[in-house]
């Protein structure tokens, strides 16, 4: 039984940009943008670039006229993960219980350092991360994780704030629109609006039953948290996945079945890595394709027995893609999802596959994995991915945010 004490939240300031500045001091103080998939969009920007009017998600061709003097860099998740894990190690020095929430955000049980207050501890943590990792962060400490996150958001950049008494909390909550709470975006905010709930304090003071009616159990959780009752725990281990998926934007829309198939195979090879990492097998596969005109279509099929075998999963994924394919539609995104996950250690055997076949297939998969471990990811890959040669040549595509493992959130 764990009784939870105060909760800390740590959030790196402009993390991708800060990470780039750690290895290149010449870009400190000037506008910097980090570009996502195939360099098409700005996925992170420095405060200087934000001041020039560049927003997150903005296409490069819109960002450049607004900030022509900016430095635009391709993302490098391998490097960002190195720094993220270095920050995580420091937080673990300060706390016995840490949640690796995302690549640049952690929650932790806040424990005051010997002879220091929680406010001084927050400052010490912030300063040590800057000193040892080189990344500026903001730290918030409060009675619950929802309050801690609101406090760190309000203390940015490079802030440190511990707010633990109700009066100070209310001042903070009164000042923040309800949309600043993670989990309350446009639609939920519009649901609350007719009831006069506009600020975080309005939500905290609203009738609990009303909040539950309007926002279900998720909303009620936030209500308890805003009122200082820590009902959302710190998850020191990532909960087991219900599904695993791989996919994303193609960068350039396509109506070529050959290219779509190449993406399917690429995503499948990445998905299999993930299944093997988590030691689970997929019982069902689904494929979603989104088209440039806003349409989307999907297919879903069971595999004969839960598996992580390339041939069996491709057998299931291929007809799924056929169902998700709209002739002459220009596809721009694909998501391949493994469902009905089963532990590899509790694996059902097939009535119709002999153990010889299974062993042979596993031996082939083992060789592929061993070669790729030794010579680099995708050194051996399916020939069906040849139409995506340019994607494989670009190292930035070799490691994605979803490849950073152990995070609770995406």
């Amino acid at each position: 039984m764990i009784r939870q004490g105060p909760v800390g939240h740590i959030d790196a300031d402009c993390f991708y940009v800060s990470a780039e500045r750690v290895r290149d001091r010449e870009i400190v103080g000037i506008p910097v943008g980090v570009l996502g998939n195939q360099g098409a969009c700005v996925i992170a920007k420095s405060y200087e670039m934000k001041a020039a009017g560049v927003g997150t998600g903005m296409p490069i061709w819109e960002a450049l006229p607004k900030c022509p003097e900016g430095v635009y860099l391709k993302r490098d998740f391998r490097w960002y993960e190195v720094l993220s894990r270095a920050m995580l190690a420091i937080v673990r020095d300060f706390s016995p219980r840490v949640e690796f929430y995302s690549i640049d955000e952690f929650f932790f049980e806040a424990v005051a350092m010997r002879g220091k207050t929680l406010q001084e501890t927050a400052e010490a943590l912030r300063d040590r991360i800057l000193q040892e990792v080189g990344v500026p962060v903001t730290v918030g400490i409060a009675r619950t994780r929802t309050l801690a996150k609101l406090i760190s958001d309000s203390a940015k950049p490079f802030g440190a704030s511990a707010v633990l008494d109700r009066d100070a909390e209310e001042v903070l909550l009164a000042d923040r629109p309800v949309t600043e709470i993670t989990g309350i975006a446009g639609r939920r905010a519009r649901t609350l609006e007719p009831w006069g709930i506009r600020t975080c304090l309005d939500l905290a003071r609203a009738d609990r039953r009303l909040v539950r009616d309007l926002l279900t159990a998720t909303g009620e959780t936030l209500w308890w948290e805003l009122n200082g009752d820590p009902v959302a725990p710190i998850r020191t281990e990532r909960p087991l996945h219900k599904t695993l998926s791989r996919g994303g934007s193609f960068g350039e829309a396509t109506d070529s079945p050959l290219i779509l198939y190449a993406w399917l195979v690429r995503n499948l090879e990445r998905l299999i890595e993930e299944l093997q990492y988590h030691e689970v097998l997929a019982g069902r596969i689904s494929v979603w394709v989104t088209y440039k005109n806003g349409q989307s279509a999907s297919g879903r099929l069971n595999v004969s027995v839960p598996t992580d075998r390339f041939d069996l999963l491709l057998d299931a994924a291929r007809p799924c893609l056929r169902r998700a394919w709209i002739r002459r539609g220009r596809a721009e995104r694909m998501q391949l999802i493994a469902e009905q996950l089963t532990s590899r250690h509790d694996r059902p055997l097939s009535l119709f596959t002999s153990s010889d076949v299974l062993e042979r297939a596993e031996a082939i998969a083992g060789v592929k994995k061993a070669v790729n471990n030794r010579h680099g990811r995708f050194a051996i890959r399916s020939a069906a991915t040849l139409p995506l040669a340019a994607i494989y040549r670009d190292e930035a595509n070799g490691y994605d945010i979803c490849d950073v493992r152990g995070k609770v959130c995406f």
């Binding site: 595999v303 996950l341 055997l349 009535l351």
Partner: protein
């Protein structure tokens, strides 16, 4: 067309037939039912989605003017369900459909009955004859083991094997396999079907719903390699067969089992259900330890807990430890009579286990692999 229908009889017919009509179809007429009334041939309610079709005999219809009419499924069902009249008058002309009760009248648009696709009737003169109760049991004990989303094989239905004196049905999803056999008779030298006819699950459910244990025997015929027709006491059901290849299932039965353990179905089912309480999506396996005098079931799942259930056995042979997904066993056991006996035939933790009853049922389950 003009007829006076017994309301409860027609409502019961709707209950049997309406599930076949698709709720959405590119051919909207399929979303309706067709009623044919005739003084000589009787009255028939029909539905089809072009894969499965049913002709259901409607009793208690007094025919003023023979003919046919297209009935909108949901509205007509509501009219019949909410009325308290014993009889309902249905009249159709080129303008539409009128439904009348004692104090109610509905005027509904009606489509041309000639546009409704033909639902095949049972025209065969040589066919197989199966007891209604047997056919119900055959379906119930095999249908649950199918996999309607299978990719490799035609597992979305049940394989039917017919000979001059027996019928067998086989359902499998690749991890477990259920086979049930019963006696059958051949009428007029009914031919043995070609290939491996697999009846889809939707048709099996429909056939099963149309059967009562005390019904007269059922007639069944396979048309070439494409369709099956079943004639029950009140209905003729047509279905296209599942396309694709059914796996060679005979090979999954182990040639010889070292251990044979008889158990009472009800006690085993309760023990398995208890053991499955402490399993999770991540840890589904229950360890079955068949030992002299007792079967011990043990399960353990992180964050859920653990369990240990004992079931006394009158068994004296060697011990076998094997891990099963309890859902697979429960699926089969709940379709059996609790007081009956089931015999587990086991080899070891890596080979398929077979559970048999003495009324022709065999259930093969692959164990889960588990590091021991």
């Amino acid at each position: 067309m003009k007829a006076l229908c017994n309301r409860k009889g027609l409502l019961a017919a709707f209950g049997m037939v309406s599930g076949v009509a698709p709720t959405r179809s590119p051919k909207p007429i399929l979303q309706n039912l067709k009623l044919v009334v005739d003084t000589e041939d009787g009255s028939t309610l029909m539905a089809t989605d072009l894969e499965v079709g049913i002709r259901y005999r409607v009793l208690g219809v007094k025919v003023d003017q023979p003919g046919s009419v297209i009935l909108p499924t949901a509205r007509m069902q509501q009219i019949l369900a909410t009325s308290s009249d014993d009889e309902i008058a249905i009249e159709a002309d080129s303008e539409g459909l009128t439904v009348r009760g004692l104090r109610s009248q509905f005027r509904l648009p009606a489509e041309d009955p000639d546009l409704f696709p033909e639902v095949p009737d049972f025209g065969a003169t040589s066919y197989h004859v199966v007891g209604a109760a047997d056919l119900r049991r055959l379906i119930r004990r095999t249908m649950f083991a199918t996999d309607v989303e299978s990719t490799r094989y035609a597992l979305g239905g049940v394989l039917v094997e017919l000979s001059s004196e027996a019928i067998a049905m086989v359902g499998t999803d690749g991890r477990r396999l259920a086979k049930m056999s019963a006696g059958a008779e051949s009428e007029n030298d009914a031919p043995v079907p070609q290939g491996m006819p697999v009846i889809p699950v939707k048709a099996l459910k429909l056939i099963e719903r149309n059967l009562s244990d005390d019904d007269p025997p059922v007639h069944l015929t396979i048309q070439g390699t494409t369709a099956v027709l079943v004639r029950t006491h009140n209905a003729v059901i047509y279905s296209r067969l599942v396309e694709g290849r059914f796996p060679r299932y005979q090979d999954v039965f182990p040639a010889k089992a070292d251990v044979k353990i008889p158990m009472e179905v009800g006690s085993l089912r309760l023990a398995v259900e208890q053991a499955s309480i402490v399993t999770s999506d991540e840890s589904r396996g229950v360890d079955f330890n068949f030992a002299p005098e007792a079967l011990t079931l043990a399960s353990q799942a992180a964050d859920v807990g653990s369990s240990r259930i004992e079931l006394p056995l009158g068994y004296e042979g060697k011990s076998v430890e094997i891990t099963f997904d309890p859902r697979y066993l429960i699926d089969a056991l709940k379709n059996l009579d609790d007081a009956s006996t089931i015999t587990a035939e086991l080899i070891d933790h890596k080979n398929a286990a077979v559970f048999k009853t003495d009324d022709g049922y065999s259930y093969v389950v692959m164990p889960l692999t588990r590091e021991r």
